[in-house]
């Protein structure tokens, strides 16, 4: 938080920092332990997954605690029309089958069919 982004290096400089694939010796292998089995998806990823699974939906995802595992999603989706709140929330939960309660400790939801007043 508040950390300044590094100034973008030019393409040429960035390219130079990456060793060529056939640089003579084998590339160091990533240790197997670096695989995160319960990786916490980012707010951006959660937003994209909701919007991909529910075509036409718009999702706003925020991190409630800064820890990445208590997320809130506000989802506006025409397909919610005619569904009860429970059914609307289920549609969103189903996108993250098995991850809620796991990697995502909590996903707080607010669903609506139309954008709240004052928004477009």
């Amino acid at each position: 938080m508040g950390r300044r982004r590094p100034v973008e290096a030019s393409g040429a400089q960035r390219g130079a920092a990456v060793p060529a694939p056939d640089a003579g010796r084998p590339a160091a292998r990533k240790p197997a332990a670096a695989r995160y089995l319960l990786r916490v998806p980012s707010t951006e990823e959660v937003k994209e997954r909701i919007e991909r699974a529910l075509p036409g939906a718009r999702a706003t995802v925020t991190d409630l605690t800064g820890g990445g595992d208590h997320l809130r999603a506000e989802v506006v989706y025409g397909g919610f029309a005619g569904l009860s709140r429970i059914e609307q929330h289920r549609l969103v939960y189903d996108v993250f089958d098995g991850e809620i309660g796991g990697a995502i400790h909590a996903l707080s939801l607010k669903t609506s069919i139309e954008a709240p007043e004052g928004e477009t």
Binding site: R85, H89, I100, G101
Partner: protein, 127 residues
């Protein structure tokens, strides 16, 4: 206790208790903010309800979510129907729908004397 006995116990609670809350901890000692909020809301409505702590055995939660198709805790059931978790219960409480679902008066209205609710515009409100 077998998985089946746990499931039967949950099923029994859902069908026999008119207002049934599954939560982390107990209403007196909730162990999660979301569970705490829902039990406080129920307390505020004055409704009689039963609560089950899901923490003592991880299978309680597994079986409950299997039955309800709902991944998170708390879960509130009224007359055998899943009403929702913390978000939905909070929204319904704020809109007055919850009192209707529970069959109670919305607190702060009707016969409740509404202690701090001013009858008309509050006197001298400075932004």
């Amino acid at each position: 206790m077998t998985d089946e006995q746990i499931r039967d116990e949950i099923q029994r609670a859902i069908s026999e208790e008119r207002v049934m809350l599954f939560m982390k901890g107990t209403p007196d000692m909730p162990r999660c903010g979301f569970s705490a909020r829902v039990s406080q809301i129920l307390n505020a409505t004055g409704v009689d309800y039963a609560a089950m702590d899901i923490l003592p055995d991880p299978r309680i939660r597994q079986q409950l979510s299997g039955l309800s198709g709902w991944p998170t805790i708390p879960q509130l059931f009224v007359k055998g129907e899943l009403v929702g978790g913390c978000d939905i219960v909070t929204e319904m409480f704020e809109s007055g729908e919850l009192a209707q679902t529970l069959g109670v008066e919305q607190p702060g209205r009707a016969e409740t004397p509404a202690p701090q609710a001013p009858a008309q515009a509050p006197p001298l409100q400075i932004e």
